[in-house]
Subunit: 278 residues, 4 copies
């Protein structure tokens, strides 16, 4: 399925600022980049690179005081693997691939070391594998209000359990945390999300099950098979659309994703969706 994604981000730069952007979709087997275009006003691109471990793609910009405008668009062909949840089991620790192991560790916003008792008490009865992670997502969905502005940059999964409220970032962090607490590797994913309303960048998570990474969205706001992955990492501390060293204030922001051919149907609550093996 083909998708056109784009974003337009404006900033007020107060003093010369170094900016790192991670807006470009990753490239891998089931997510093929057909075309892309980046345009900068009020800043100059210094470097463009792909991180080794994650495959996240960045560009580095130096912006002088004034307005900075970043416009990016790309055409992507997405070919998600659709499977039967019942057949997707949990991988025994002994059999986990090396590069997956770090995603068992607690991280800044995902204190899985504190939540083992909680997680096993709440979800231990569900069959291990895809169904258990779905149970985690159902519980998060039922116990957390999606309220824009209810959390901030330092909000962690432990806060979200207490607050019972958050945004997509918080839903993803809580899902990751509860998975890791039960020895299921999980990682944070930022994405262009088809049918997300209102349009915005989205955050979901992936759990490593049956030998692949499967997508989960506890907010139930987007079609799992219509997610164009941008960045992935331990949690939002590693995955952000933009980082600044200097003084910048965010201004206008537009995000869009369309599908000329119709796009994901989005009614996949009974199926498992995976984009990447690693």
């Amino acid at each position: 399925m083909k998708y056109s994604v784009s974003c337009k981000l404006g900033y007020d730069i107060e003093e010369e600022t170094v900016c790192f952007f991670n807006l470009q979709p990753s490239q891998f087997d089931r997510q093929v980049l057909l075309d892309e275009h980046l345009e900068l006003e009020g800043g100059r691109e210094i470097d463009r690179y792909t991180m080794g471990e994650s495959g996240n793609r960045f560009f580095k910009v130096v912006a002088p005081p004034g307005k900075l405008l970043v416009q990016y668009r790309a055409e992507v062909d997405l070919d998600p693997l659709i499977g039967d949840p019942a057949g997707i089991g949990q991988v025994a620790p002994l059999d986990l691939p090396l590069d997956v192991l770090p995603h068992l560790n607690p991280s800044r916003f995902c204190q899985s070391d504190r939540l083992r008792a909680f997680a096993f008490r709440q979800f231990g009865e569900f069959p291990p594998g895809h169904q258990r992670v779905t149970a985690v997502c159902n519980w998060i969905h039922d116990n957390t209000d999606y309220i824009p502005g209810s959390s901030h940059g330092t909000t962690s999964a432990m806060d979200t359990i207490i607050d019972h409220a958050g945004v997509c970032r918080d839903f993803a962090h809580l899902g990751i945390t509860l998975c890791r607490a039960m020895d299921i590797p999980a990682r944070y994913v930022s994405a262009y999300a088809y049918r997300l309303d209102p349009p915005d960048f989205h955050a979901v998570f992936e759990a490593f099950l049956g030998g692949r990474w499967y997508l989960f969205d506890a907010t139930r706001k987007a079609a799992l098979d219509g997610l164009v992955r941008i960045g992935m990492g331990r949690d939002a501390a590693e995955v952000s659309f933009s980082s600044f060293f200097g003084k910048a204030t965010a201004g206008e922001m537009e995000v869009s994703i369309t599908s000329p051919g119709g796009g994901a149907l989005g009614d996949l609550t009974t199926q498992a969706v995976s984009l990447s093996e690693r």
Copy 2:
């Protein structure tokens, strides 16, 4: 119903230490003290007093280096009011007595200001009043493991929600917190608890409902109509059996409560129990 309560507490005193003890049952209409006896070895009693607001009874001891042994026993006649939960409603804020209002505030171990969304989401469907507080206790009981040693002196209700484990003190703090979060006044109570196994001091809580304070024990470990109240206050920060200014290490400890006439039946899960109006 008559009860004999007693305790024996030993301490190693390293340097001259001032000790405050709150071991004596409170005195009020439905809890009448028939007789009591205090014996000290290795320390001298300086003062004995009753706090104005709470009615908690203290004695102050100065202990020189060496062994300190405190032995206390009392005979108490308990006459709890037994009522029908269905008839005990919530008191509207407008009608709350003045001295009850402070028990709506958050306190050290009961951060009710953080848990409003949590509480209303979880318990908002239950009818206001005694039944809603019982729903709180049932939830705590079902979601928290009673594990001696799983918490410590700085553990708060927010920790207990995360840890899903605690002791009687933690169960009481969580109950108080969830009540206050829903505008139900609640306070911490320490007690001699009939049938508690193994025998020990116990902690429960009271909620102000239908014009009186009703007892609740989310641990379900003791008979509600067999609780001889010692201290009450906002939370464990205000209610402790002993406080030391100096250097003391706790040693032997024995607590006992017996009833010559047979004591509380303890099978009162379908009834409401209250000791005090204020």
Copy 3:
């Protein structure tokens, strides 16, 4: 010294709301109320009362949907005791009056139980008594930025140590916490503050030293001898200008304090100031 204090508070009431206000100065020996006047628009006063333990004065209002406007003014004669800090020592725990003891306990926003090592390490070298508490205030002043909007209703002393920023409420909480951590009773005080710029309600704290409560303001924003005390309590959880049960949004707010005779000189950094013995 005579002061005129006043405030004007406006609210949008969405549904019938019960409001408790604590805007009136307390009455005691050194703070004499000469005259006062309360006016309500859009609500009706139900009750007016003084809390037993604290002496805080409240009025209770029921407001229907619409605008609520509260206007209060009073004339107060203030006669603070001015003393020499060097002569004001710490009271030994053995000698503390009963009603002072609760102000040694940790409370919602003042987790003094966590900060004993911190406090003794930082301030243990200073002579016990007024000078040690002044050292605490100096440290807070030097290590905390006063930034309006940098904290919120759930910010505690532990947060303020981490954030190094806060408002008067946070400065007071941190002072209280560090005092209690060193066995110095301390309590929270709300006040009309002469010379505070811009005019607003203010929060400071009192420490019990040499047999009286002495005033401290780690923000150094107001004259210690020009504080007209409104409420006092364990911390801001017990002392608030207004509490609402219902739905109200704060609107306009004006606070003023003037002194016909000139008022406090405010240059009292080398002297100790006390308003109340209890």
Copy 4:
């Protein structure tokens, strides 16, 4: 300088357990492994591997119920670079190598996002570079008590600031956190530490300065030029000597490091020490 390192670790295994061990020194230019020997009793080695990003070396063991004994020893040649702190500056964000960037992010135990104001207030006056990080270490050393048992597995840098106490792990976390808060990349390092008394595994940290990773030890307990690096990562969540999936209880533990030729002098407080460029 040549070092002999060894450790002997015993475990009681209750049920079949998968164990990951990271006990072997890393291999890189200035740390050359001359010889090593691993011996297992009560378990069988399944795999031995080196993580791509970190170069950390692991072996995976499956242990049946019973005793598991792990004995490891190695000969290492260490050639640390010794430099003049005054000449080692901070690298501008624009010039940071890609693989260094993730070490600017907050992590599980290092909430640098919360401590920017704290760090710049406390250390902003020191010249950027090695001297500023040394100021961080001096402050940690002067404000934190090294107390075995004072912290536990979930203790983070924010806790350590509050507690003013910890062990080597906590000193390292706090150092890392304060560096990252000031945009200095920093990472956690586990090591065999020459002259550490009593002998044990040690934890220190590295900061990226002047184009290399420099070693820092805020505990001042070991010779910086006598550290044989085992693992490195974001914080202790990524770097642990052993991880278990199953049921294992730690028993005996012996760690040793000797130097046939005399070893590090350890009196290097006025010099900068670096082992690795990346």
